[in-house]
Amino acid sequence: MTTTVLEVRGLSVAFPHRKGETTAISDVSFDLKLGETTCFVGESGSGKSVTARAVLNIVEPAVIKSGAINLVDVKAGQRIELSGLDPDGAEIRAVRGARIAMIFQEPMSSLSPVHTIGQQIIEAILLHQDVDAAGARAKAIEALRAVQIANPEEAIDKYPFEYSGGMRQRAMIAMALGCEPDILIADEPTTALDVTTQAEILKLLKGLQDTRDMAVMFITHDMGVVAEIADQVVVMLHGAVVETGPVDQVFHAPTHAYTKKLLKAALGLDEAPHGRIAPASDEVLIETRGLSLAFPSKKKLLKKRKVGVQALDDVSIALKRGEILGIVGESGSGKTTLARVLMGRFQPQEGTALYHSRDGGTRDLTDKASFRDGQVYREMRMIFQDPYGSLNPRMTVEQIIGEPLLVGGLLKGAALRKRVGELLERVGLPASAMERYPHAFSGGQRQRIGIARAIALDPRVIIADEATSALDGSIRAQILDLLLALRDELDLAILFIAHDIGVVRYFCDRVAVMHRGRVVETGTALQICDAPQDPYTQRLIAAVPIPDPRKRHLVA
């Protein structure tokens, strides 16, 4: 028998501004029950985080317009209405942290860098519980042990920068659980983490929930994660709840069209057959042999330089014409460094990297001089990860896309405009978009603009560094399809750097798996995803959540 601990009815939140207000969420209703995980899914901007913040009454600068948030104290049999409380008052502060705790997406910025982990956990305990300093410390060590941090007696006196990303998130969870709350709100807690770390954190959360009988409000955009841990699912779109229900029902009998679309985008990547029919040609465009690059440690006064991080260690890959080669690995595995070496940003200490250009010549990519005449940059183009940072906000779309054509002296004036219009239409944007500035576009649209800039020079190779990882599920699928279509039309070779196995499986022909600067395994996408040979690849593949609640394998 499960007990409802939080009832939300008809909640609406709006951001007031000069001309009226913008509604963030409207008429949202749901229940949280002890011992159950309720997942909130939706794409960015759908109002998931605002809903979570409204529960804690920390929505400033927005205001709660209407609705009721009833927190039920099961033991005392009381109900508190949270939305009516003063956001800075004593009553709501007694609830925050003690009854309802929250963990955030970014474990680095939500921990104070100048205090030890212990100090931060102890502070939360002292604020809400009637214990002395020694008792709080004992409790904090206990909490760290509960989140499976090795050697908690020592770890408690360390600073956040001494922790890895996964350990920081564990510490955040320990802090949140320090006061034994009834409700834990987790706002995308695993999004910033690597997939193997994500699996550990999900397992940890589920275990803690079972032992403590908490209600967990879990916000995510990843349908795989939902399928792994949810009991109940709330699907949000444009600030409204479009579907709620038990996880199995939502996944296997969705009613709302948007839910179906989300599932299709998630399942599509996993179940779509890999569609490359014609094999890539044998013409090799980029070839590296034994690339090694070590970043020296920081130069210290009067001390000898030590050998620092080995970013690349004996990396040999080959990119063939018309082929999509995926480079997969967790953060710090050296995949971005590899891309930067190929683009001439870094020069490796050992090894060769050759590019066979269109005119039949061969360029040495390890030599800065081969980039000087710009030919390599005309034939090898880059798509960036961050759709916001990669477009100059001070230039119109026309100027951004036209820049390589203009600088190369290829086109100008009306011909340039016409070409930019064609490129925009090719990437699925109206030609009229060229007069606007990047801030008028959403993330997916900006990424399309970035692709238009990349194909403007009719390149042979595109290096895409995590080009879809900042995008929402269905948008990601659109961008991948766009790239696939362009590959066929323009005979492009794409070096696709990613950490998302689902994307790689769907998109790539061949995959190289990187771990600590080394390529541990190379093979076709299906080989790597379905029958991995290397133990590291096996662990990586096993940690990927599957968007089907009937196939749970991470937390069971």
Partner: protein
């Protein structure tokens, strides 16, 4: 290369996921304002800063006064009238109430001299019987507009040229404080502006090179800046000012002073510029520009400079008041500009004496002008700083 629109391409694989080409538009987002440029956004943000907008108007007034100094000043600022030593300010009246009724006729009251019986000191008393009528666009003493066009038209002047007209009172030699203040505005504002422009040129070139290319040049300039900034400023200025030959003309001293002021002023701006360059070097769109085949010059001029011009303007607008204050301090100490050049600092030199302050407090008015100008520029700098980066979250 043939171009096919997505609608024509086969609906293969999960192609059905693809919806409208532009993607689903969130109905809550207002897409109507995507065509505004950076400067339009900055102007809108700036307009929200009330205090900054008001300050901009005040500064505009100061600049107008400085540019049209001869036109605004009713009297020749160097004209000595021993009869009116320490004459108090006259209030300006617009409505003339006479026996025939009311009429619009600007006027001031004349002076009556009284001798204090004990101290036998001459004091001026406003004589309400004696009305001095004023006319607009009065022709009196000659000056050159913008230093080029000889003319003798003034905004306001007494009908009879010989009548006293002292809006802000008179100084030790019976010179008109208002006219002197107007001329002081010209010098003080231009010292601030010229000094900042000189430091800006130095700062942008040195700081820009240090930030963009880094390496040993960066290290050397940074140490040099640290050294310069560790020098105590007043003794340094005193030393440099003392080293100026005493036979230099006022114009030469004027340029030497601005040079001395910008000698230290550029360090601050160089740091701002270097910091911006370092930050921008890491931006993806700058990397993208390099991959687009842009030269160093084009990357800097087209992609990086527009990203921080607003920051530079902000830093500069905050540096101008510092320059003005520095000039004032130097001149006040008698080391900066020298009479007959008139600057706010030179005018304040007169107010050093406590006795003159007791009898003629209006000599402090240049101080008020400094406070108002510096405050206005600081508010404008604040407003610009808030508006400088319209893309910041």
């Amino acid at each position: 290369m043939t171009l096919i629109t997505p609608a024509d391409s086969p609906e293969d694989r999960i192609g059905a996921v693809r919806d409208t080409p532009v993607g689903e538009v969130d109905p809550r987002i207002d897409h109507s304002h995507g065509t505004e440029s950076q400067w339009q956004l900055i102007r809108r943000r700036f307009a929200k800063h009330r205090l900054a907008v008001i300050s901009l108007w005040i500064l505009g007034l100061f600049v107008f006064v400085a540019v049209f100094a001869g036109f605004v000043a009713p009297n020749d600022p160097g004209n000595v009238k021993a009869r009116y030593t320490y004459a108090p300010p006259q209030a300006l009246h617009f409505i003339d109430r006479s026996d025939e009724g009311w009429s619009f006729r600007p006027h001031v009251y004349g002076y009556k001299v009284e001798i204090e019986p004990e101290a036998l000191r001459r004091t001026f008393v406003i004589d309400e019987e004696k009305k001095i009528y004023l006319t607009f666009f009065k022709r009196s003493w000659d000056y050159k507009l913008f230093g080029l066009i000889p003319t003798d038209i003034h905004l306001l002047g007494p009908e009879k040229t010989r009548d006293p007209f002292y809006l802000f009172g008179a100084d030790r030699l019976g010179r008109d404080m208002f006219s002197r203040l107007v001329y002081g505005t010209q010098i003080s504002l231009s010292v601030g502006l010229v000094g900042v422009i000189m430091s800006l040129v130095l700062g942008v070139i040195i700081g820009g090179a240090a930030g963009y290319f880094g390496g040993w040049f960066d290290a050397v300039t940074q140490r040099a800046i640290e050294f310069l900034r560790s020098l105590p400023t007043i003794p340094l200025w005193m030393g440099l000012a003392a080293a100026m030959p005493s036979d230099w003309s006022p114009l030469q001293t004027y340029f030497a002073i601005t040079l001395i002021l910008s000698f230290l002023g550029w360090t601050e701006l160089a740091r701002v510029v270097r910091g911006r360059f370092l930050a921008l070097n890491g931006e993806d769109y700058v990397a993208a520009a390099r991959y687009d085949g842009c030269s160093h010059l084009r990357v800097i001029v087209r992609h990086m400079v527009p990203a921080f011009t607003s920051h530079i303007i902000t830093a500069a607008s905050l540096a101008v008041p510092a320059m003005i204050l520095a000039e004032t301090a130097l001149s006040f100490l008698g080391l900066g500009l020298q009479a007959p050049v008139i600057s706010w600092g030179v005018l304040l030199q007169e107010a050093q004496n406590i006795r003159t302050l007791a009898t003629a407090p209006w000599l402090l008015l240049p101080g008020a002008a400094i406070v108002i100008a510096v405050l206005a520029m600081n508010f404008i700098g604040d407003g610009l700083r808030d508006a400088a980066d319209p893309y910041a979250k």
